[in-house]
């Protein structure tokens, strides 16, 4: 069965620090990969996505992620975090032949990011 592992449950950083959140998935076929963010009291928003092509994808708010197929990883990075980045971050994957983007999304358990001002 497909699964997604997020290694850090809670990360605490100071403003301007660099961020890297780990994500590994288990599935041997073609996958679509996502990072979602959930700010306090707000709904789930897509930060970035990988469907195909360049394995380094850039998203909103200065976030980027690199797909490394050989390591089944899709780590999220940001060079300099801000207090407003405080949120819950979810790595996710979906895969299904044909309408792959419409298939169920498997989420990781999330990483809570706290930024000290």
């Amino acid at each position: 069965a497909q699964s997604v592992s997020q290694h850090n449950h809670h990360v605490i950083l100071s403003e301007a620090a660099s961020l890297e959140l780990g994500c590994n998935y288990s599935y041997g076929g073609t996958v679509n990969l996502f990072w979602y963010v959930q700010y306090p009291g707000q709904h789930l928003q897509l930060l970035l996505k990988y469907f195909s092509g360049d394995p380094l994808v850039k998203g909103i708010k200065g976030f980027e992620a690199e797909f490394i197929k050989s390591k089944f990883s899709f780590n999220l990075r940001k060079p300099s975090v801000q207090w407003s980045d405080t949120a819950e971050y979810f790595c996710a994957v979906n895969s299904l032949p044909g309408y792959s983007s419409a298939s169920k999304i498997i989420f990781g358990s999330g990483t809570r990011l706290s930024i000290r001002p």
């Binding site: 707000q42 983007s101 169920k104 989420f107």
Partner: protein, 115 residues
């Protein structure tokens, strides 16, 4: 263009009762999925509807059922509520047409509390 909308926003029910949650997909979307997000966890897939039929189902009991209407909106029904059903219920929509990958859009969710 409205995104995915869900109603109600919050709901409090008693154990054993039944509940119906509603979702309207983003304009142009024909596929609706439901997810359950327990506190401190990632969303878990319940089921997906397309062309008014359940197409995929996650590991949830038959107490969880759904429906999709001709206008693509959807309902999630939960019977015989348990305390453990307390969660944020998310609806996501996407279009299956076009042959290229699209992202799924999530609604704000319905917070269900079972007492």
């Amino acid at each position: 263009d409205a995104g995915v909308t869900q109603s109600p926003t919050h709901l409090i029910k008693t154990r054993g009762q039944q509940v119906t949650l509603r979702c309207s997909p983003k304009s142009g979307h024909d596929t609706v999925s439901w997810y359950q997000q327990a506190l401190g966890q990632g969303p878990q897939f319940i089921f997906q509807y397309y062309e008014e039929e359940e197409r995929q189902r996650g590991n949830f009991p038959d107490r969880f059922s759904g429906h999709q209407f001709p206008n693509y909106s959807s309902e999630l029904n939960v019977n015989a509520l348990l305390l453990g059903d307390s969660a944020l219920y998310l609806c996501a929509s996407v279009s299956r047409g076009g042959g290229r990958p699209y992202e799924q859009y999530f609604g704000p969710g319905t917070r269900l509390t079972v007492t």
